[in-house]
Symmetry: C2
Subunit: 506 residues, 2 copies
């Protein structure tokens, strides 16, 4: 491992896998007294260009002592190890990275200047090439937040983000799509809408995401029903055969900058209209969609919290969509209560199955939202007129959508039965009253503490909605978990200041 078999007198540094997961930020671990740190003047937290053969990346330097690494070793975090595709002992080379030229545009943006399309292109290309540190990403995100981007800039950012990754193309036209502007637990309409649209003969190759801050993403819920981790060729075969699919888009390199930006937007937890629009529309452009229905839930604890905020974001989405060649139709929906009964991958899957199967106990709100959105998709796709509601309802109630959904699941690799959690705990109303509010953020937190989305069966099941009257001792919700520890943890939170239900006397 430590053999020095080159002939130019520069000692060789060899790769070692540290087994340290630093999420998406590549870290290189080196000793301060190794010849590279000394000769290159690298200090802790420096940005270092690491090259292994034909591959290279920019990593952040963490300095370690002799207990962890030999002088001729450099450790790599998991993401760096993967991206460099090295084997233990491979020779690594180190250099100062070129300054990130495009960051000067971020500085210009901070000073309130409007950036040119090519500046956004350069910023996004540098980001996707891994040249932006988390600190630089946070600065970019902050500089663009707070309505600091003009519509023209959002168009530029959207185009740049789509162009930086794969762009899917489909032989059919229109290619319909739907997207929900997050923030509402259990809002799992997508599989139902795809089933209805595909049953109507439309092409709807849906790529969905996994949960980022929520207890479940559409891909997480769908995965309890069928494989979603398809490669592009398989996805194409599914769409060719069935007209639609519901797959995980994460491995398809669609608007990869979006995933990079999320890694800082998540901890900062602030929403920027401009970035939201670019995020949504760049993914749609990249997925090859032509006609998109946008579900915009509005409510005090949803992502969009007021009518005026909704109008502002819809205006921006519509304007930018037209500029980049997408037809969109935005639908404001109720964003106060969670949708359906389940929160968590499998529990949400049970809800959507009930709707598709026409189960009389299926959650009415999930059914109605799905029909409304499906109707708009049918209209936008030229398969219905008016609000399309009648046609959507017919496709659902006739069983055509359920049949189509099963066929899609089979084409994706075979239908599955969602798992059921091993442990449950009921939470009863401490007194009689009416449900005044349900705090979606607290619900999401309970579900995540219970293990969702990591444990697909975990989450919670709601037994009462806002405005409903409950008696003393009547169950309000049930926590589901795969381990006693997680159940206890979620329960402790839900019993304390995390109680998601507020009752009022009747």
């Amino acid at each position: 491992m430590s053999a020095n078999n080159n002939h130019n007198h520069a000692p060789v540094i060899r790769a070692r896998r540290m087994g340290i997961d630093t999420y998406q930020e590549p870290i290189v671990f080196m000793r301060a007294d190794c010849h590279v740190c000394r000769s290159e003047g690298f200090q802790v937290r420096a940005r270092v260009k690491v090259t292994a053969g034909a591959r290279s990346l920019i990593a952040t330097l963490n300095v370690v002592d002799e207990a962890l690494l030999a002088l001729d070793e450099a450790g790599l975090s998991e993401v760096a190890w993967r991206e460099l595709q090295v084997k233990p002992g491979d020779v690594l080379e180190f250099a100062h990275p070129e300054p990130v030229q495009s960051f000067s545009s971020v500085r210009r943006k901070i000073y309130g200047l409007e950036l040119e399309p090519e500046e956004y292109r350069a910023i996004i290309d540098d980001m996707v090439a891994g040249r932006y540190s988390n600190v630089e990403l946070a600065s970019f995100v902050t500089a663009c937040a707070g309505d600091h981007m003009s519509l023209g800039e959002i168009v530029s950012l959207t185009r740049a983000m789509a162009a930086a990754g794969t762009i899917l193309t489909w032989p059919a036209r229109p290619v319909v799509d739907k997207h929900c502007i997050g923030g509402l637990p259990g809002n799992r309409t997508t599989p139902i809408v795809v089933a209805i649209a595909a049953a109507a003969g439309l092409t709807m190759p849906k790529t969905s995401s996994r949960a980022i801050t929520s207890p479940a993403g559409t891909a997480d819920a769908m995965e309890t029903l069928a494989p979603v981790d398809l490669d592009l060729a398989t996805m194409r075969r599914v769409v060719e055969r069935e007209g639609g699919c519901i797959v995980w888009g994460g491995a398809m390199d669609l608007s990869p900058a979006d995933d990079i930006l999320i890694r800082v937007e998540r901890p900062l937890d602030f929403d920027s209209d401009g970035q939201l629009v670019a995020s949504v529309l760049s993914k749609k452009l990249a997925a090859g969609s032509t006609h998109v229905v946008l579900d915009v839930p509005v409510g005090p604890t949803a992502k969009v919290r007021s009518q005026s905020a909704a109008r502002a974001i819809i205006d921006k989405l519509t304007h930018v969509a037209h500029a980049v060649g997408l037809e969109v139709h935005a639908v404001q929906t109720q964003g106060t209560d969670p949708v359906g009964r389940g929160i968590g991958p499998a529990l949400e899957a049970h809800d959507l199955l009930a709707v598709l199967k026409g189960d009389p106990n299926a959650p009415v709100d999930l059914r109605e939202r799905s029909l409304r959105l499906a109707g708009e998709v049918l209209v936008l796709g030229g398969k219905a007129t008016g609000d399309g509601l009648g046609e959507a309802q017919h496709l659902l109630d006739s069983g055509a959508a359920w049949k189509k959904f099963q066929a899609i699941c089979e084409a994706q690799g075979g239908m599955r039965t969602p798992p059921v959690a091993a442990f449950h705990r009921h939470f009863a109303a401490p007194q009689a009253g009416r449900v005044k509010t349900i705090d979606n953020r607290k619900l999401a937190r309970v579900a995540k503490l219970a293990g969702a989305p990591r444990s697909p069966a975990a989450g919670l099941e709601l037994h009462a909605k806002t405005g409903e009257r409950v008696e003393h001792g009547q169950p309000l919700f049930t926590v589901h978990a795969q381990s006693q520890g997680e159940l206890a943890y979620a329960a402790a939170y839900a019993r304390g200041h995390g109680a998601p239900y507020e009752l009022e006397p009747v």
Copy 2:
């Protein structure tokens, strides 16, 4: 180490020192499959509150595999290990950190709102308590950059920053000080100004910084002449005896938020007037200064690049200084060329020694700047009238300042001879011509690649200034380094696109 001797069935996690230096960002290393990560739902990059006895801090989670840690161990990076003051095997406890309440003010700032004094106090207090991640720091710095802070807000930030650390008090009044708004290599006037002011009987307890992005800070240059790493009691004795000192302020906890902000401002490399003013004045307030002369070099490659930028920053500095009770006088100086001949700690020390000793070969520009600033200090301190230049010159040329400087060095622990580098390379003019420009940023980079400030003897020596005529083959500058590797590295850069001199035909 892995004994489980508590009785409430929760396994215990014990501390292990990882020997990984992550600079100022505390990192905790844990296994994803340990009971804490599972039950608390911690995922990689989560912010985790780590408690050891009565001490706790917020750390970022890196997830490691079984080769590095046992299931009942948590590793700590160096800064976390130090701050928690643990021993190997000490029990650690983990919790979700409380949300950083004050970050909601940062979000308000992003949306263009003016923050209240108590909001800045809360932000700075949280920062100093280690509750801000690097990503949150970057967001704060960006939100406040680009003239987004009102004068009132800069006052609030300045007060909050000073109040968050130690505030020195001195029996004498006035307590004079000087400060240079960075950006000019070799501008090492401070030790000369202190010597002149103290020789005039003024109290000038100067705390200086080490280099952040430059090849040398005043503390780095001074350290080649005398110890600068003094504790407060020793510093007081020096000032009591000699009237002045030039020490490193970094360990005195003066405006500690400044050092935290710098850790993200450095990689972002952008200047924000508001933060610059708060940074400078909070340090002066904390150092107990009452009367401050500000040196503001103006030039296209200096920190302040134009007359109008200088006027803007001076206006802000003056306004904020008065509001917080400081008398300041700002002096615009030439900021085009580097000052003196040397760049790097020891090479700059040689220059200032030459000026103090009255060496006829001493750099004239360094002498003249020092006299001008010292004159202003004398006037502001009530020891001279007009521009104070005559009095300053008298104190320098009479040898009084040199005598005082030696006395200060002795009081600080003994005068030293600056080191001389082992390796040199001359760079000759490739053709005859006139020096059109010298790029200070490139000069600084060459000096840093050569090893400055880590190697105190490293850096470069300039043989020609802007406007001077040089012949073909005449030396333009000499690189000094302590290792062949660093010399080669700096030389390669200086020969390539990093050439700091531009010549024009005569």
